[in-house]
Structures are given as structure tokens and as C-alpha cells.
Symmetry: C2
Subunit: 244 residues, 2 copies
Amino acid sequence: MDVIDLLKRHRSIRKFTNEPLEDELAESIISSGLSAATSSNLQGTTVIRVRNPETRAAIAELAGGQAYVETAAAFFVWCADLHRSAVACEMAGGEFHGGMTEHFIIATTDCAIAAQNAVVAAESVGLGICYIGGIRNDPAQMTELLQLPDQVVPLFGLCLGWPDQDPALKPRLPLSVTLKDEVYNEVDDRAGITAYDEQMREYYRERTGGKVDRTWSADMSSLLGKESRPHIRSYLDSQGMNQR
Amino acid sequence: MDVIDLLKRHRSIRKFTNEPLEDELAESIISSGLSAATSSNLQGTTVIRVRNPETRAAIAELAGGQAYVETAAAFFVWCADLHRSAVACEMAGGEFHGGMTEHFIIATTDCAIAAQNAVVAAESVGLGICYIGGIRNDPAQMTELLQLPDQVVPLFGLCLGWPDQDPALKPRLPLSVTLKDEVYNEVDDRAGITAYDEQMREYYRERTGGKVDRTWSADMSSLLGKESRPHIRSYLDSQGMNQR
């Protein structure tokens, strides 16, 4: 298999067959994920596998009614975790200087890198995946449901299962916009965004039989034209993260 | 090639041959990276390729004297970017509500996910990689060097090149510690950390001919027993990120 082709073929999958995911394969996928690079070997990631249907239903609901959280063969919550490192620090007789924004960046980055490695492992065996950022709609409830200690934050969910749909590839912004030489030169960005807007308009039209007429710029305007999860900052603070 | 094997064989590479990396392959790798999932299609990632030897030398130095930033065939800076989305928002007639911590999480997560996809693409063709978190030692200087606008933050660097070393795999924490069922149950964590400490002690001994006697807990104590990049919070604020 050509890995680059596999990566370029990524689509999120939101409809799964009933076929289960064997524990051994699931563990191999998570283990592949956690083999990724990690900042100063901190390994700031904890993965929680949720099987309980009631917990899954609660998460599906708080994520905004994403039913595939319930129907996916497996569902994992990826947490940015400094708690374990704090425990290790104490075991070695050290004093933990927690709460720094840099720690939060390290753990968040570690966690996202590990999760994407797991995603590639999953897709390489034919599984479909869908990230669930919607768990950040109610991180306090997630914290209660998963009994997370201080210094552990639920970053996103991940559905894994055998695909029961074959959606079209969603176009990406052109490299002329996203890959720059030497400095952040944005002289061609507006032209690139305009071209991408037309490409996305066509993508939406084709997917909806002409019913949806939208562009990327309009999507960004909807998304960023209002406050986004304003509770996150105080939630992180209450978990001892991103404080200073 | 078995992708799961590839992922589990990851080591960071810090010594490269002089062989160049062709632009076409480099672009295919970055494009693979940017094919990864992105939150609400925000695509909050900008990649800046740095070729200029003087800029590379400046980055190697501010990252703490990491010479491989200069010697790698290619060096990229991965930026969490909301600026482009703000431009799109304006193009669509919207008003950008920036500066939120949630935006920062979205862009940081998008960027890390895309970078790791690019890493897998690179490793699949035999390239070696090394992430450079050290660029956060002096993000203000990075911002000046790369002429980053507001709402763009340099998250980490990435060296790519053809390996000229074959380092041993670094063990990871056992899954008994990092993968949990249903809830964050940490009853076995200290035993798992103790076992890993012994494994890491052996790893360091073997790598250094017995000269280094260290454990993971001791590493965590060194790392977290002091402040970590305390300038990051005010830097982010000055870039219009993670403000509220």
C-alpha cells in the first residue's frame, strides 16, 4: 500500500456497519498512536475507551447529537494529561510546577500527534474514523463522566468502525495558501481563498444535489463570527491547566 | 509495507546525509499532512519552509543549539493559524471574534494532526524526522524572522532528511497506564510507572555504555520541577491568541 495515497484519501466516516472491532486490533492501533514523537518524552496523552452504552449516549448528546458516537464499533476519548507526569515527579521526590500554558501546549500537541498516528493505523486496516471535537461543548460533564483528575483535559473523541458509507473527498485549501517560503507572505492568499471558495461551492452543490450554496469564507464567517466555547478558559483553569 | 509496523518503528532522527529532498516529494509530504481531518474545516495550519542558511542558523541557535535544524535536507515551521480564517471571515462580510482559548485549541490541534500526517508520509518513503519544540524558546524572535501576522503562532519546527544514524527504539509507558477503560482509573499507574522507570534506566544504560543512570520519573521531575517557557502566555496574548 502506498502510504501517501492512503493519507491523501482521508475522509471522515460517520456511518458504520455493526461489525465489532477486536480488542487486540484496537490496542495495536492505540499502541501505534502512542509510538509517535512526544515532547521531552513527557507522553502527555491518556486514552479512555468508552464501551458503556449509557456513557456513550450521554457523550453523543453533549457533543451536539452526534449519533455515531453511539454506533461506532469503538469510541475513545483522547485526554491531554499532565497528572501522570506530576505523579512521576512526586515519585522522584520533585516538586511539580504545574498550570503553565507551555505545559498545556506540550500535552495538547502530544495528544493530537498520538491520536493522528492512531488514525493512520486505523485507516491502514480499512477502518473509518471521525474526530469528535464536540466533547468540548461540556468538558465539565466529560470530566465527571470519565472521573478525570486535575491536570487531565478531554481534548476530543474518536470514533472507529468499519465504514458503511463512501463520502467524497473534501477539497483542501491550495498549497499556494498553506505552504509558504521563508516568510509568511500572504500576497496570493485572497486569490487562493477565492478559488477554494468556488471549489467548495461545487463540492457542497454536488453533495446536496444543488440544495446547499456555501463557500469556505462563509463557513469561516459563521464559525468565527460568534464566540466559540467561551467556557473553555475557566474550565481549563479549574483543571489546573493553562493558568499562567 | 505494514503501516502499523512503520508507526511502531518511529525514532527521531538527528543526523542526516547530505542527500537533498526534492521539492516535488516535499510538497507531496506537506500535502499529505494537510489532508488530515481538521476541526469544522478550519484548516488552522500554515507551514513555512525555511531554506535560507542564515535563518536556519538563527533558529538552530534559539532552539538551544540544535545543529540538525541546519543540516536537515528540509526544515519546516508549523504554525497554528487563525489569521487566514479571519481574512476569509472578512471576505464573507463577517466580524471575527478572535482571541478565544477554544480557537487556540482548534488551531493547535489542527496543526499537530496535520504535522503528524506529514511525518508518517515522510517516514513511509524512508525519510527521518525530528520535531523541534525548542522554537518556543523564543517565539517573538521566530515571529520576527518569519514575519508572522497576528493570530499566527509558531508551534514547532520539523526537520526532514535521509537518516545517517539508526538509533534504538525508545520504550513507551505501558498501555496499562496510558489506555484506560470507561474512567480514569489510576490504581495501577504507580506500578506501571515503576516498571517503566526500570525499562528506561536500562535504555539509557545501553545507549551510553553505562554512563547515564536515569529514570522517566527523574526526567519528569527535572522537566516539571521548574517553570517551563513562562513567556509563552504573554507571547500568545500579544499575537491575539488564547486571550479569553
